[in-house]
Symmetry: D2
């Protein structure tokens, strides 16, 4: 089976360089997919109770070759070991406690079943949080079939629990690439069932249907896509006039953006650095490359912990923000000799070059909070004169001939995903956003959405936020009729013009 990027020549859309690189990192038979958010969640963290069950299942038979049935007699699924269902159910129950928004959604929307008749095919990380999402979609009336968007990130117990409760799930931890596409195909290519909604994370499922079953789009009411990469692909399709159904870009909804980037990274930068290096932040000199949401979060946290923070930027507006927030705006070269930590948050490539690395002082820590693994030119460090020493999981010392050591974290991959965890609350925001986007697209009157890529309607975005307020015992004020009239607003929102920046 060909990979999508193998078809580039014949592809309908131009692929920018960074996306090509993403593809080059995709799994080969013995390859590794790039680390993605939920992987850290399901990683073999020594603390994780779930991990142990997984490890105990040292069954070497491929799930594709197994005959498994759930307790109701169904065999319309393919998971590692259906017997792990009970453990997975416990994980799901714990996740339910921390995802009150989805639980509230189940309650509020259950009467009217807003997804009655929906046939959703999904391709996401398969974790306890996803399970809560799927079971919520089910409770709202939808039928679901699901595959994993990453060959490593599936929690086998959770997959088993979902299969046991009747969800056709096709996923296990450690799929081959062939397994990967086989699972996706099993979700969509099924007798007597055709999806009318797509929930995708990365665009692989969407791509597969485009390539193999383009006719399916006739019945499909819309695509909900959450990843940067998948969204980029959709915009390219749209630009090329090849997008044949409405698509919802949930990645750029306000709430999701703020939580994935600003709020989450404000905490995970500290967490990732501590878990890997046990360093003290106070008094350290740090340069943060990039002052977008991620950079803002990193800078705020480190400043609060007593670090002295420098910022580099290419965008003059973000640069001015850095100034007003109290950070010296410099070029990397100006401070590279003096800093104790270098953090990249740019989404760019080769922001930290070998030349920079050569000039850093002994014991300088280098890590990436931005995008993929391109920001630090790690390849340039794979030269004979440098010695690599693995001192801990995710921590390498790269040693120069004169004895200078650079502390490289996660081999330049994302620190927050490799060496920290994503709080369930952040995943709850994302899952709720996905659920509402599906409801919106499925129920939208004819003509509201054309064959284009849309941001989540502001009102839905606001609803996601409102569902999470009770967690903080936060009490929203309601407009009086008089006030609503004065402002020219509906009392239930949306409350802001589209260009509002929050």
């Amino acid at each position: 089976m060909e990979k999508w990027d193998g078809n580039e020549g014949t592809s309908a859309f131009h692929m920018p360089e960074w996306m090509k690189q993403e593809f080059n990192k995709r799994p080969t038979k013995i390859g590794r997919r790039s680390l993605s958010r939920s992987i850290s969640q399901s990683s073999t963290d020594s603390y994780s109770s779930a991990a142990s069950y997984t490890d105990s299942s040292d069954d070497e038979t491929s799930p594709r070759d197994k005959q498994q049935k759930n307790s109701k007699g169904s065999s319309d699924f393919c998971v590692k070991n259906i017997k792990q269902a009970e453990f997975g159910r416990r994980e799901i129950e714990i996740a339910e406690q921390e995802m009150p928004a989805l639980m509230a959604l189940r309650k509020r929307a259950q009467g009217e079943k807003p997804l009655a008749g929906a046939k959703i095919v999904g391709c996401t990380h398969i974790t306890a949080q996803t399970a809560v999402l799927m079971e919520t979609l089910g409770a709202l009336g939808a039928q679901c079939r699901w595959a994993a968007c990453n060959i490593y990130s599936t929690l086998n117990e959770v997959a088993a629990a979902l299969a046991e409760s009747g969800f056709p799930v096709f996923a296990w931890k450690g799929e081959s690439e062939d397994d990967f596409w086989w699972c996706i195909d099993r979700c969509v290519n099924v007798e007597g069932w055709q999806p009318n909604m797509i929930l995708d994370d990365g665009g692989d499922l969407t791509h597969w249907i485009y390539k193999k079953y383009p006719n399916m789009f006739k019945k499909i009411k819309g695509i909900v896509e959450e990843s940067v990469t998948g969204v980029h692909r959709l915009y390219q399709l749209s630009k090329a006039g090849k997008l044949c159904v409405p698509a919802m870009n949930v990645n750029d909804s306000v709430t999701k953006q703020k939580f994935d980037n600003l709020y989450c990274c404000r905490e995970s930068i500290l967490d990732g650095l501590k878990r890997t290096t046990d360093m003290m932040f106070g008094g350290k000199q740090v340069v943060v490359c990039g002052y977008g949401e991620v950079g803002k979060g990193c800078c705020a946290a480190l400043k609060a912990m007593g670090s002295i923070v420098y910022v580099t930027e290419i965008d003059p507006i973000c640069a001015l923000q850095a100034c007003m927030d109290g950070f010296r705006l410099v070029k990397l070269n100006e401070v590279i000799r003096q800093v104790d930590i270098v953090i990249t948050c740019t989404g760019n490539k080769n922001v930290v070059t070998r030349e920079h690395l050569d000039r850093m002082k002994n014991s300088c820590i280098v890590c990436n909070m931005g995008h993929s693994n391109t920001e630090i030119d790690v390849a340039s460090l794979r030269t004979p004169e440098l010695t690599w020493e693995r001192v801990r999981s995710q921590v390498d010392h790269v040693i120069w001939p004169d004895g200078k050591r650079i502390v490289l974290l996660a081999e330049g991959r994302l620190l927050n995903l490799s060496c920290s965890t994503v709080p369930t609350f952040v995943l709850s925001i994302t899952a709720t956003t996905q659920a509402l986007a599906l409801i919106e697209l499925y129920n939208a009157p004819e003509g509201r959405y054309k064959q284009d890529v849309y941001l989540l309607p502001k009102k839905m975005d606001e609803y996601v936020a409102s569902l999470h307020l009770p967690t903080f015992d936060a009490h929203l004020t309601e407009l009086t009729d008089e006030q609503a009239k004065y402002l020219g607003l509906n009392k239930n929102g949306p409350f802001k013009p589209n260009y509002y920046r929050y």
Copy 2:
């Protein structure tokens, strides 16, 4: 002469309630215009050196009745006293030092004179900063005629200095309403000169031309409008299909918004409270109504000073931001009895009602950082059982029958404008934005802008920011060719998609 709002019945557009109220506050013969930003700048601050010259000119003759000529023999202007020109020039020179962006613009764009042929009619506050803007426009090739957008805010010395150096300026401090419209008319109704660009602040100039000289729009290339009110009017015109030239909404440019609201208010809330009450912030309980940019600035500043801050919000997204930033989100009623300070930043009306005021504790301070003077229901305090005591300029004690005192600042008008000052740096951002918007509209190729309201192009917004970076000795990083290609960006920007939120 009729006021615009007097014509509402025949007006092309629907006027929302808050705008009607704005109008009701507009000057009558003995009335007062609402305080606007620059007024505080030109107020009779005992520190201000300029103020003294003004006070000494106790000439009672109306400028309209005077015969004045500048040293070159021109009498195409109308100011209080042309002899004050020298003092005004000094004020302008000081302002030039603090507006490096405009000075840089003069230098960079002077060779090519991007405004050669432009005939700009302007209606703004007339202050030293405006003078720097006008003289910059002149240096770029434009001819200008100017009136004041506020009957109280003109600095007479500055107007004199501008007249002396050849600018037809029609403005003085303390105009009557009739004077106000007369001055505007003198700017546009002139033999042998017709404007082709409008720079407006509040929409009065635009309105006047619409009403009296609609044919002028044939030659006009565009309108640049900076105020919330004026922008609202333009959107209404556009919605009604009556906008006959392109208009640029510079109020909502990123840079201007952040500086006018977040960065400026973060400082002016402290300044305004200190200058009026000498209070100590540490340990005080404060409720901030509204968590937009202004509210965010106020909350951050007070939290940093050791206050305990509560927030009220109607918008769940902003509410969630408040939570994540560490503020308890409450309804006003929940905390009204315990707080020491109440600050409104909503843009709404009657956010603080008489009922709230009745329940506040003794010595509670109440002030408005939001919009206009509607947020606190001050009218409800004008009842016989309450005693008002003016204890300082801008500070009233309202005394309940039981002796309880509420400390009301600026009679509920904007604290930051009434009791604080706007730093020149913030005015520099605005003026530079206006200049670039004029250049853009004037030079845009046919068809780029239609008869609609536009935000400042992102590239221009970025340029405004970049012109202000040298003030902070901030060093921007440039993309390499390789990086620009990787990101799919032009090396000179714009660097972000339009929906980017900063």
Copy 3:
């Protein structure tokens, strides 16, 4: 009449250099006393309602030459104008509202009259806050006679109100030096009344008694001194074996120190800079010389407002604290060319030299938050090649031949006293501390205090704090018996060993 420093040769104790300088600034006939804290409070602030009464009393007769009686017929006082009593009473009543601790003390201690029999002679600034203190001492059973410790700081109305209600007060605004000592003498040299307690601020009263009435010390139970200078004098006396009664150094009590320095300066640095320069703090580079309590307050405030702050220190412990709090520790020379603001908080002399001033960039602001007026070598700027231009009250531009301007605030005197105000809450802490110190010394059993200088007993210090907690609606936890036993503490305190640093 000789000044104390005129007697130095014969004085009992060695006077360090900084104290000699203090003396040199003391009033001569046409001289000025150094600004002291309460002066700003009583300054002709245009906001102050009190100030206006003072101004209206343009009576040129010296109070010493007037015959005045209060309504009860007493003439045992000397104030500017007894008729101003009513205005002063109102000021006192307002101050009472903001000094709840003293009011609580009146209530709690009134039954037992802990100062019954005390005859207190006092020499402090005479302000509304002092009046609240004096009337509290009265309510606790003491008789008081009072003079001013500063020839400029007396609020005449308040003095009148005190005289009217029966306090023998000898003070007015604008005393000559001869008046100054005459007033002090009138307090102590009185038929049939001899003080048994001294409350001093600066040591002048103590000195006077030492010089003129040394026998009085036989009946005096103790001295309470609040100023740095006065405390220093007492330690010198003690060292020289000349201290003949116990003295209480209230200046160094924990609560007073934290409020006078850390908490107060954290706010007044912002206030002082804003009121004088209207500058924006965001993005500004600032160097703070000295990281004691004052420096810590300044740094924290400016960092929070978005300034980039550098610190200089001589003490390695404070230096390390600055590092851990996130400030670059530098020598002044390293950053002097690049900073926008220089703030001294050292207590040292010539911290900012002419050489530094020569190297500062245009528009650099220079001010002193530390001690006296020695920190900036202002004298070095009084040279012919530099031009001084007074641009506002308390703001001078010093102009170099090449046009460079340095903005010097308050001529190098204390910014927080000259250009800001001291919140009543801070004065309340001080006054309460003084009252408790008097009670302690007066009631201490024989032998508890010897002829030495003591810090306020920790339990009293804690009591001062506890009296101020209700202002913040703060609820203290009480130890259970079991816990008190476990910790080996008395349930009512003191709670910490003497060396505890808070």
Copy 4:
């Protein structure tokens, strides 16, 4: 062999209740010693490279029964396995890189060998950092013999490396109580060698010599003690008149206090909570019991991360500080139902009672950052109706009959020691303080120190700080002669009076 507390009746000093409890936790044959700081450092952290060597030495023979020699033929030591020396040496070398102060001390003081002739017996945790200290003492001229102060905290490889390089070390991980005292005895009870200095951590070594070899004190010049418990014992001895040599309380030196408590806990509270619970801090409501240095650190960190923090206090001064720093001061009962996290930092017992635990909401996290394991009444949770569920290492869910779960961390023991790590920089501060205290006591002229407990001289404290400044590239300013004279200070310090609070 009797334990110290077994002798209490005959003991010279009164033992307060908390100390008795400490003793009751001490090791029995199969018992556990209380966790101490370095234990976490040497714990079987999955990241720790050192840990793996330890695990591989599954030799069950007691070290006391082994015959081991180092490469020079000496057998004057007792460690787990001398062959691990090489691994331990590497650990020591890494630690050396992060302890620049001790390395600088070696260099600076090496010429004069200030400890020439010193015979130091030590009893501390045996870690790589201790090894750097011991080898520094050796380089300064001292002979050392060493035992472990904790039966679990010894890093066997490090002990081996020390033995290999000639240090008589008697310690291994997992000693029995009998081993513990045997090791101490082997350090002091040796032919032809008598200690003249004691370095103790906890007081056990000191106690042993008091009990068994009181005559040794004739030659002993002093004791340096670093722990709270050991210091308390010394003060008791002193009070009882039984202290027969000078002792230095290094625990309360400024630098050590600030780093052990404020700076370290500011970071470890976040680290400990993240590693155990992966929770998000933003928006969480937290109550911190106690606002001493530890509480201040915890509060500052959590506030910065967006938590809403309440504080409880018994000491009104600390309470007022909490108010001024922006925290609501409450009684625990007022907020116990609403908070998400409860953190104790009091040093007290039963601060969190069963009644509090009963009232907490579901999922509330409870942990202890204070002292020992007394603060939370964990014993009260060991009742039949509650179910304990271990969900991760150091994390228990305690489940109420109604399903409510409380998340108890580290079973109520110290979170920062159990679930976080102590940065080497903090240990460097402590070790340097110990070295300087030894030098001071050893070299002090006759009479400077009597048979009492002393704080580290301020000048030494300052010296510790100054040795750590280069780590931050921090540049100290030196007083000019003129300034030193003005301030009455020596140019090299000490710079502050003894009562200065920093």
